[in-house]
């Protein structure tokens, strides 16, 4: 049996001196942060009831001199391993109402107060990057390179094409999701409740349907507990956030959790890294220096774990791929699918150790058919690099390869062949 998936949380490797920060140094940090702001600068407007017609009405992002960036008090962040979304890049921001701060909840999830606004702007580097702003949507690039990205969560609009900005808004009744779609001029983003299909083309990949989700489809991922059916942020957890970010200015490179603490936006003490309610820093999926297992698990966690967890919408499958899962069967090892339909690709088990081509997980990640692909939503394209990571993870599985058909432990009768079933050959 593989032991690779059974790691307990590592101890927390982050600066600990912060807990002792004095009020004075917090004030100094805040002062440094605010130094670049002009008095008239816009700041976010929380809409408690309805979603306004344009993104601009929220004042979370602003465009100045061809650069899109956060408004006053809005903090950019990134994740160790992000969800794959058809090679889109994402600018993420968080904003908390004045005088409030976030705490840590179960699983290291940040608990944000009512009035908080998260934004995620989907964009692509342009092939003609540098040839002037406002060009119409031509071929875009599928590259991991940070083209057009400026420090402090800002984007040079002559180098990127904005597609949509999704918001998660913490209202009194809970988190609510909404999307705004940018126009070709990249000046305005308008409310889009029922979703949209935007034809795009990526260099080296080809044409595809970029899908803007409708509001219910937002919930398909963000209602991570299907019984309670309430929405929650997915990426805003300590394990995803524990990394450096280039804030620019006087702050420069800094650990994101540390930065939020120093701004007074996050409670100082992270929970102890215990098995029950602690957390382990997620690997970056493409960090070659990290272990293959930690990279693959981080990838599955962020791409699959929001549905495939023991309370999630995909709990019907018995397959759980979130970071907390430790049962090899629940991770899919030699596990039969329950209701995959033709998504099995004529294969019998979710993961066959040592044999990626016999594993349903690989098949469904490699599919672009809405009736069989995984994730079901959020991509039209295959993530070739992510697929390769999972292929390698399965290929290099420790221990004996394959799934011994015919169980024959002493507690059970041996079954020599599937005589009453039709031939599976």
């Amino acid at each position: 049996m593989s032991g690779r998936s059974l790691q307990g949380p590592r101890s927390l490797q982050r600066p600990r001196a912060l807990a002792g920060l004095t009020a004075l140094s917090a004030v100094l940090a805040l002062a440094a942060f605010l130094a670049g702001c002009t008095p008239q600068e816009a700041q976010p407007v929380f809409h408690a009831e309805r979603n306004p017609a344009t993104l601009a009405d929220w004042q979370v992002l602003q465009i100045r001199a061809g650069v899109l960036g956060p408004t006053k008090g809005v903090i950019p962040y990134e994740l160790n391993t992000p969800l794959f979304s058809d090679y889109a890049h994402k600018l993420r921001t968080v904003w908390l109402p004045a005088g409030t701060r976030a705490g840590y909840g179960a699983d290291g999830a940040l608990q944000l107060p009512v009035g908080s606004i998260l934004s995620k702007t989907f964009y692509y580097p342009r092939r003609d990057a540098g040839n002037g702003a406002g060009a119409s949507q031509g071929a875009l690039q599928a590259t991991a390179a940070a083209i057009g990205v400026l420090a402090g969560g800002r984007l040079a609009l002559d180098q990127v094409q904005l597609i949509e900005t999704r918001l998660l808004v913490r209202r009194a009744q809970g988190w609510q999701a909404v999307s705004y779609v940018w126009d070709d001029s990249q000046r305005h983003a308008r409310l889009q409740r029922v979703g949209e299909i935007i034809p795009l083309e990526l260099e080296g990949v080809g044409k595809f349907d970029y899908v803007v989700p409708d509001i219910n489809q937002c919930a398909a991922c963000h209602a991570t507990d299907v019984e309670r059916a309430t929405l929650a942020p997915i990426g805003l957890k300590a394990r995803h956030l524990d990394r450096d970010h280039d804030y620019g200015g006087k702050v420069g490179q800094k650990n994101q959790l540390v930065h939020l603490e120093q701004l007074g936006l996050l409670e100082a003490a992270a929970p102890a890294a215990s098995a029950s309610d602690g957390w382990t820093r997620a690997a970056s999926w493409n960090d070659e220096s990290a272990s293959l297992d930690s990279r693959a698990r981080a990838y599955l966690d962020i791409n699959c774990g929001h549905c495939h967890n023991r309370q999630g919408p995909a709990d019907t499958s018995g397959l759980a791929l979130d970071a907390a899962e430790t049962s090899p069967i629940a991770l899919g090892v030699c596990k039969s699918p329950v209701a995959a339909g033709r998504g099995t690709g004529n294969k019998k088990f979710d993961i066959v150790p040592g044999h990626p081509d016999e594993s349903i997980m690989v098949y469904r990640m490699a599919s672009q058919d809405p009736g069989e692909m995984m994730p079901e939503l959020g991509r039209s394209l295959v993530h070739r690099e992510g697929l390769e990571l999972i292929r390698r993870w399965i290929a290099e599985w420790p221990g004996a390869p394959g799934c011994a058909q015919e169980a024959s432990n002493s507690a059970r009768q041996s079954a020599s062949s599937a005589r009453l079933s039709r031939s599976q050959g």
């Binding site: 299909i197 209602a223 069989e372 799934c403 009768q413 599937a418």
Partner: protein
């Protein structure tokens, strides 16, 4: 004239939306109808009835509902058609995560994946629906027609389901279920009750599937199923070659199966008409016989044995004469000759050795088969070396299961 009627119907539909009327939809015009319908689903209030007028409506992405207490109603299963033939987005036609939900009197055609999936919810009613993959049986068809999962209090009635590449009507991990007066034709499994508790399946017309009605338990799931009654159904000529993708539970079902019980407990099968199912009218089997049993991949606490099975008072005719798969063909030839036939009931021969008392299951867990002639014991545990025809141990009675009460 027809155009005028269609335009009028569309006008009625659009009246509340302030949109201009339109004539018949063409492919590529999936947009407006779809946007407006999805908007209604987003904005629905509890108690609301969303009427979809007659017409053939093209959609290219999934619909979804997350508000409880909503009814979606068409003008009839042949009048209101939601066609997903050009579907580009979504693993279902309609995905529901809500309670007190009713869907009735319309058709859903050619979804890429499942046609209607209801994930978590109580008091679910699916009535008078036609779910169809219009090209006939194909592995490329979507998996499930009507698919409530993790639901409670479910009524599925008067529906017609054609062409699902897995199960036409599939109730999974649910409780308190009535499936009645439906027609399930040309699916891999006509009707499947899986890991569910307290289901009544009656007065259905089940034919031309690979397997007619399945009562299964799968491992590695939080809920084990038990307590299904299958009665007063017509289950005939379910001889369509298995077109399910390998790896699915139904892929193990031989063509020509009437009713298949696998690993499930407390199942009562009575007063059915079973005719011309070419492998066997009823198969009682354990998880060992699915071909999916592995040491690594099945939770140790999973019980693979069917127990407390009660088969009585069914009417059998024909069938058993052309079983599917080389193993079964060989078995039939060896035991019954070229022109012979299997008996009505096949059993794979697995019993839990830990529960045997004097070589028999205790009476409350027995496999009782009456009014069906002898049972063919395929001798799975003995590696199929000594199959036998027997009545021994099967001539017993179990207490009748109680009817499911949905209180509606």
């Amino acid at each position: 004239m027809r155009l005028a009627v269609a335009a009028l119907a569309l006008l009625g539909w659009l009246a509340g939306c302030g949109q201009r009327p339109s004539v018949e939809q063409t492919p590529g015009d999936a947009g407006r109808f779809q946007r407006e319908l999805q908007e209604k689903l987003l904005d629905a209030k509890p108690g609301e009835i969303i009427e979809i007028p007659a017409g053939r409506h093209l959609l290219d992405r999934s619909l979804s509902l997350r508000v409880s207490g909503v009814t979606i109603r068409g003008a009839g299963m042949n009048a209101t058609v939601l066609s997903f033939k050009g579907q580009r987005v979504g693993a279902e036609g309609l995905l529901v995560n809500a309670s007190d939900f009713t869907l009735e009197n319309l058709a859903i055609e050619d979804t890429r994946g499942d046609a209607v999936k209801i994930n978590e919810g109580e008091r679910i009613t699916l009535r008078g629906l036609r779910i169809e993959w219009t090209g006939g049986p194909s592995t490329r068809n979507g998996a499930y027609g009507l698919y409530p999962v993790r639901t409670r209090n479910v009524l599925i009635e008067d529906c017609l389901v054609i062409g699902a590449s897995d199960a036409g009507i599939y109730v999974g991990q649910s409780a308190d279920i009535v499936v009645r007066r439906n027609r399930a034709h040309q699916n891999v499994a006509g009707i499947e009750i899986e890991n569910s508790r307290r289901a009544d399946v009656y007065e259905n017309d089940v034919t031309l599937n690979t397997g007619g009605i399945l009562v299964f338990n799968m491992p590695n799931l939080p809920q084990r199923g038990e307590g299904t009654r299958v009665y007063r159904n017509r289950i005939y000529a379910n001889n369509t070659a298995n077109f399910g993708a390998k790896g699915t539970p139904v892929a193990s079902v031989p063509a020509g199966s009437g009713v298949v019980i696998n690993s499930n407990d407390s199942v009562e099968i009575f007063d059915n008409e079973l005719r011309d199912n070419a492998t066997a009218h009823i198969i009682i089997s354990s998880y060992f016989s699915t071909g999916y049993m592995t040491n690594e991949g099945v939770a140790k606490d999973f019980d693979p044995y069917p127990e407390a099975i009660h088969i009585h008072g069914n009417r059998f005719s024909g069938g058993g004469d052309s079983p599917d798969g080389l193993d079964l063909k060989t078995l039939k030839l060896a035991m019954f000759g070229l022109g012979g036939r299997f008996p009505a009931v096949l059993w794979d021969g697995y019993r839990d050795p830990k529960k045997l008392q004097g070589g028999k299951l205790p009476p409350e867990l027995a496999l009782c088969v009456r009014d069906a002639g002898p049972v063919l014991n395929a001798d799975g545990p003995g590696k199929y070396r000594n199959p036998s025809l027997t009545r021994e141990g099967f001539d017993c009675t179990l207490a009748a299961l109680r009817a499911v009460e949905l209180e509606r």
